[in-house]
Assembly symmetry: C2
């Protein structure tokens, strides 16, 4: 009933951190890491590796930078088979901050890039690979970049890149299952030497179904987060993924427990999940930044005006 | 780009009423009817037609009974092309309460039934048809009834029933897109003289994607509700359906307005939507009643214990 090749990546701290400047306490991150380990989840992403010259450690929490020492602080002493991942954005990392894998608690480095930056991403991913890490390239905002440049990027990735996994990232929560099926097929037609991954956003409540669709089309790496935490509408919920996949190594109860004990109260402090402005940016294939700005303003529930403003700005 | 045969049914008052004993004010229902009419939605379901001998009008609101006079009270004077529907459950209606269509503001009567009650449902639907109504049969809890009895029911419906539409109802929010695709195919193989409909529940955040899947497989009648209101996890959200369907007759803004003005505050009084106990009953293919009881108790957020209780009771 289950496909052993499927790997789950838990990215609550990394993607959820976009809603609180990555200011999760060490205690909280340790609890998440414990729960994820007990659940038998394959990978956990603990944050970004950003340059401290670009972002101030006074403004942002430790998971914006993911120093090896901070990672060790939360994972040391916990029994775990879960591998640790960090994400880098093209142009935001000091490459020398990433030590050889043999000297680091990190197992995987994921490079996030728009299609236009794919050359840089390939060079970075190859360098991380050569340092001994498992590597991925995460192609962001793909709902906006489906023209010939995407085909060129896919071919380049196959021929030039040493990354193990190439992710399709629906940054805007805009894809429907037919578009996901089409994209995975398009990637798999060219990419024969690497796995395909899928990272969804839940603007239109489609992150889970799109992840299932990606798996049906033979993507094997799927991202989720606990209770769906993540930027704006958030991600595919890990608890639903665990209820769906039949691999006996996965256990849902540690995730249910950490939701009861930690994420319910967190959801009172940080907003994520289904809100109409996020649904609107998703259905209009727009970046959620305008919706996030609206939600932080006193007009947060003026949906119809917000809809008009997006329609009008796209017609200008 | 759009299929003109597709019809949308708005069922906020009927399905949402299961969470408040159908005690919506006339004013509220009129506002919903106005918004639905302005949105160009094809049908609105205003409640159940239940016998007052079985349910007390002192305990339940008018939309549990849908007297013609109550319906007229909210629809009269509103410009509208939206047709009015009511639902009946097998064994809960006095047939003589349903007057001929020519004497009633109601356009459609939908008969909800489990597979085991299909004979009764067919007899009732035929009677409503003969009284001049558009009619449907809604086959409930289909995730539990997928054996040979379902095939027999489908064949009987095609050969004996005068209903215009046969609905596949995922009462437990348990179906995945592959199961929806399979069910629509199974129905359409036999049912040639009627349309197929789909009514989803959102326990696993799959109501919208499953509705899309049903449409891809040529179901033409889709149920939704404003902001997803409905029993337990609720239904497919109408605003997402309107964002998806490209028929120019549909307008999303009246629905966004009524969410801002009415449904946000309502959601503080009545609970519906994504909650872990509903997700758990969905993934375990169980009726949500145990989850609803939990949510009404002081243990409402003890998810892991709830999960255990369901697993253990299913093994007894």
């Amino acid at each position: 009933m289950y496909r052993p090749e499927i790997k789950l990546m838990e990215c609550s701290i990394r993607d959820g951190g976009l809603m609180n400047k990555h200011q999760f306490s060490y205690d909280f991150v340790k609890k998440v890491y414990k729960a994820v380990s007990q659940a038998g989840i394959d990978y956990i992403e603990l944050g970004y590796k950003n340059s401290k010259e670009l972002f101030s450690p006074e403004e942002y929490g430790p998971w914006k930078f993911c120093d090896d020492e901070d990672i060790s602080k939360v994972i040391d002493g916990v029994e775990s088979d879960t591998k640790v991942s960090v994400m880098v954005d093209v142009g935001r990392v000091n490459m020398e901050d990433v030590k050889p894998a043999s000297e680091s608690p990190v197992d995987m480095v994921r490079t996030a890039a728009y299609v236009k930056d794919i050359d840089k991403a390939i060079a970075m991913a190859n360098e991380f690979h050569d340092k001994g890490y498992e590597t991925t390239i995460n192609v962001m905002a793909i709902s906006r970049d489906q023209g010939p440049d995407l085909d060129e990027a896919i071919e380049q990735i196959e021929s030039e890149c040493k990354a193990d996994v190439i992710y399709i990232v629906d940054s805007f929560g805009s894809l429907y299952q037919e578009s996901v099926a089409g994209l995975v097929k398009r990637f798999k037609k060219v990419i024969k030497s690497k796995e395909i991954g899928y990272h969804g956003h839940n603007n239109q409540q489609l992150a889970f179904s799109n992840s299932i669709e990606a798996v049906i089309r033979n993507a094997n790496y799927i991202d989720g987060s606990i209770f769906g935490i993540g930027r704006a509408a958030g991600n595919c919920t890990m608890e639903l993924l665990l209820g769906f996949f039949k691999n006996p190594k996965y256990r849902i109860k540690p995730i249910l427990d950490v939701i009861s004990e930690e994420f319910l109260s967190l959801s009172e402090d940080i907003e994520w999940g289904y809100h109409i402005p996020y649904a609107v940016t998703g259905m209009l294939n727009e970046h959620p930044r305008t919706a996030m700005a609206l939600r932080a303003s006193e007009d947060k529930d003026k949906y119809s005006d917000f809809y008009d403003s997006l329609i009008n700005s796209s017609m200008d």
